[in-house]
Amino acid sequence: MTGSAALVTVLVVPLAGAVAALLAGRRGAVAAGLLTSALGVAAAFVLAGAVLAGGMQRVAVGGWAVPLGIELRADGLAAAMLLMTAVIGAGIAVYAWRYFGAAGHHDPHDLAAGPPGPAGKAAPASTQWLFWPVWLLAWGALNALYLSGDLFNLYVTLELLGLAAVALVALAGAGAAAAALRYLLLTLLGSMLYILGVELLYAAHQTMDLLQLRERLQPGLSVWLAAALMTTGLLVKTAIFPLHFWLPPAHGSAPAPVSAALSALVVKAGFYLLARLWLDLFGALPGAGVVPALLGALGACAVLWGGVQALRQTRLKAMIAYSTVAQLGYLMIALLLASGAGGAAAGAAGGAMHAGRDPGLPPTGGFVGKFALVEAAVRAGAWWAVAVVLAGSLLAAAFLFHALSRAFADAPADKTSAEVPAAPQLAALALALVAVALAAAGEPLRRLLTVGAAT
């Protein structure tokens, strides 16, 4: 399989899977979802191999050259994101298989028996299977987003992803309607600000292709305005402190596989786009260094604020939601370091994206990510960043052990682990193993991330 064929396959598989799941209906959707996940993981690995071996892969959709057409591009960062999405997505699929399959399911994540969630009763079981087509469309949107080289096409993928995420949150039932609605309003507002920026860039440069824009970029009022609008729009979507307020209610009320998908994948898409914009495009503007510094400072606040808030939560999902806020902070710090230190540190940014929700202790991928981050910070002499990362890790360790101790010690006797279906446990175990594997595969992954790094 050639690189470009792999690229097209990575795009098509989840979308075709969504079609199959929707046609298959309640009974067949699970099979369609699981099969799609397997194919998607395989395709992502093939594409990553092609990128590692042959450099950036490009496909001009419709055979039209930019700026008229849309070019899809897979560089190292995109390939790594696709791979991460496929692997985590497969884990989510296995988890959801049992979660939505069992009638009158209970939430194995809420073992840390806090007060019942705000979700109330979930959506009727007859529509729970719609998780599959919606999730597969979300996955397709993520893949399309990572591969797109066109600013307007990115807008469409953002909308597709946003609506999918809203629908997934709504799976939790009428009690989650407010959270889903807040999320919808903000994601729409973010898209509008983003598209306004795209319009300004198109007006000034007659192209929406990222690489072409980078060549043509003329510093000026409209470009700075566009940068500000697009960044603000994406900050809202990414839930960066202090615009994070919508995330804990939305993620906390969603069904467990959904909050996993949202925390691990969906908000990262906004960050990925921010990184692309500031590393590939606006980074070239004179005086642009201030902005990543500002974003990094926001990131530091997010790490500390999210960590403290997570520690105060009694429900595990709420805790995870706040730890997502903190985790996004790490990513912003990584973005700052990457923008300052050039190509090699872009790897650190990518590495940090793989920081799992573990406190970053060896021997897991989270440790590798944070280690890469600290290493880059030391190299850049950013001692404040080192301090923030370490403090954040301490907080993360504290709330994780807090949660674990509750799960093991305080779980009421009638809630035995026998109730938890095997598949979610297997999925969790598999994802944990992947985290360990990432630690081992850290070096090839970093090599992949430097393919086609812009600076």
Partner: protein, 330 residues
């Protein structure tokens, strides 16, 4: 296209701004929604003045028509209490002063960058028009939507599909009380429905070389569907047939993408000699799906009337003046 400003334009712009503001600031939400619909209709006049008849058709049918019907339906379902708002919904408070200043600041910056634009601006008009011959159609907007940037449009059909999946995921809501079928409404339906089908087909066909296309045709079909629903309530839940039609457009579009990638020049690369036919096939499938999706978005998911326990909000919905179904009387 006339590029000179005429009195008409000045009047239109003033009306648009006034209606736009009233649609946001009217204390009575029913009035606000009606003003929003009129705003949408005038907006389509603005599109015509700016030389964008394709956009004008879509705006009138989708932006004003379908969105308006959805808004009115929601107002009726919210009931009197749910549709009530403050006396001065957008009045300035200390917090809102900050928002107002931010909005004004943004406007000032946008004006500055608009003034900096050259009066004559090339855009992508030339490449788009030069490649028209190879695109299979002669309407440049259709060429852009279904050939140059078909990938955008494929994903856009996905967005529509997601909206209806999202509505299906939600719990069924209580049905609005409906009046006995009216013979006049039935007559209207019998006359208009065949006409909408014909005109939708015409719009689809003509979209290749003149304003029109799948979205405009679908919106027209959907209007017929909404009328049908008002006369004889439809049920469009996720049944196998409905799902198959909803997914059809996206599936055909995707299948064409795969076929072109496997057999020919690449993802969504249409050979020029067949491009016209391929585009027509995609558009026909998309039109059916989009029309059904729009009707399904309007119909929503209603609980069967036999279900007991209809809450109060449904009972007083009929008393709201904005009930979209004519004659929703207590």
């Amino acid at each position: 296209m006339a590029a000179e400003v005429q009195v008409f334009d000045a009047v239109l712009v003033v009306l648009l701004l006034w209606l736009g503001w009233r649609a946001l600031a009217s204390a009575d939400l029913f009035k606000a929604v009606v003003q929003f619909i009129v705003f949408g209709l005038l907006l389509s006049l603005a599109w015509v003045r700016l030389g964008a008849p394709d956009v004008a058709l879509a705006e009138a049918a989708i932006g004003a028509g379908l969105a308006g019907a959805l808004l009115l339906d929601t107002l009726a379902r919210l009931g009197r209490s749910g549709a009530a708002d403050e006396a001065r919904p957008l009045g300035l408070t200390p917090a809102r002063t900050g928002i107002a200043l931010a909005a004004l600041g943004l406007a000032a910056l946008l004006v500055a960058s608009a003034l900096a634009l050259p009066e004559r601006w090339p855009g992508l008009a030339e490449p788009a028009l030069q490649q028209l011959r190879a695109s299979g159609v002669s309407n440049p907007v259709t060429a852009t939507l279904l050939n140059y940037r078909a990938w955008d449009t494929l994903l856009e059909v996905g967005v529509l599909m997601l909206a209806v999946l999202g509505v299906w995921i939600l719990e069924a809501e209580p049905a609005l009380p409906r009046p006995a079928p009216d013979p006049m409404l039935g007559l209207l339906l019998r006359v208009l429905l065949p006409l909408t089908v014909i005109v939708a087909g015409y719009l689809l066909w003509v979209g290749a070389h003149a304003p029109g296309g799948a979205f405009q045709g679908a919106a027209l079909l959907a209007a017929g569907g909404v009328l049908w629903h008002l006369a004889r309530p439809l049920s469009l839940g996720p049944s196998p047939v409905v799902r198959a039609v909803v997914v059809l457009g996206f599936a055909v579009f995707l299948a064409v993408g795969v076929a072109t990638a496997v057999l020919g020049g690449g993802l969504l690369t249409f050979p020029p000699e067949h491009a016209g036919a391929i585009i027509l096939v995609i558009e026909a499938a998309a039109m059916l799906s989009i029309a059904l999706i729009m009707v399904a978005l309007f119909v929503g998911r209603e609980r069967a009337p036999s279900d007991a326990g209809i809450p109060d909000s449904a009972a007083d919905a009929s008393a709201v003046p904005g009930a979209p179904n004519p004659g929703a009387a207590p």
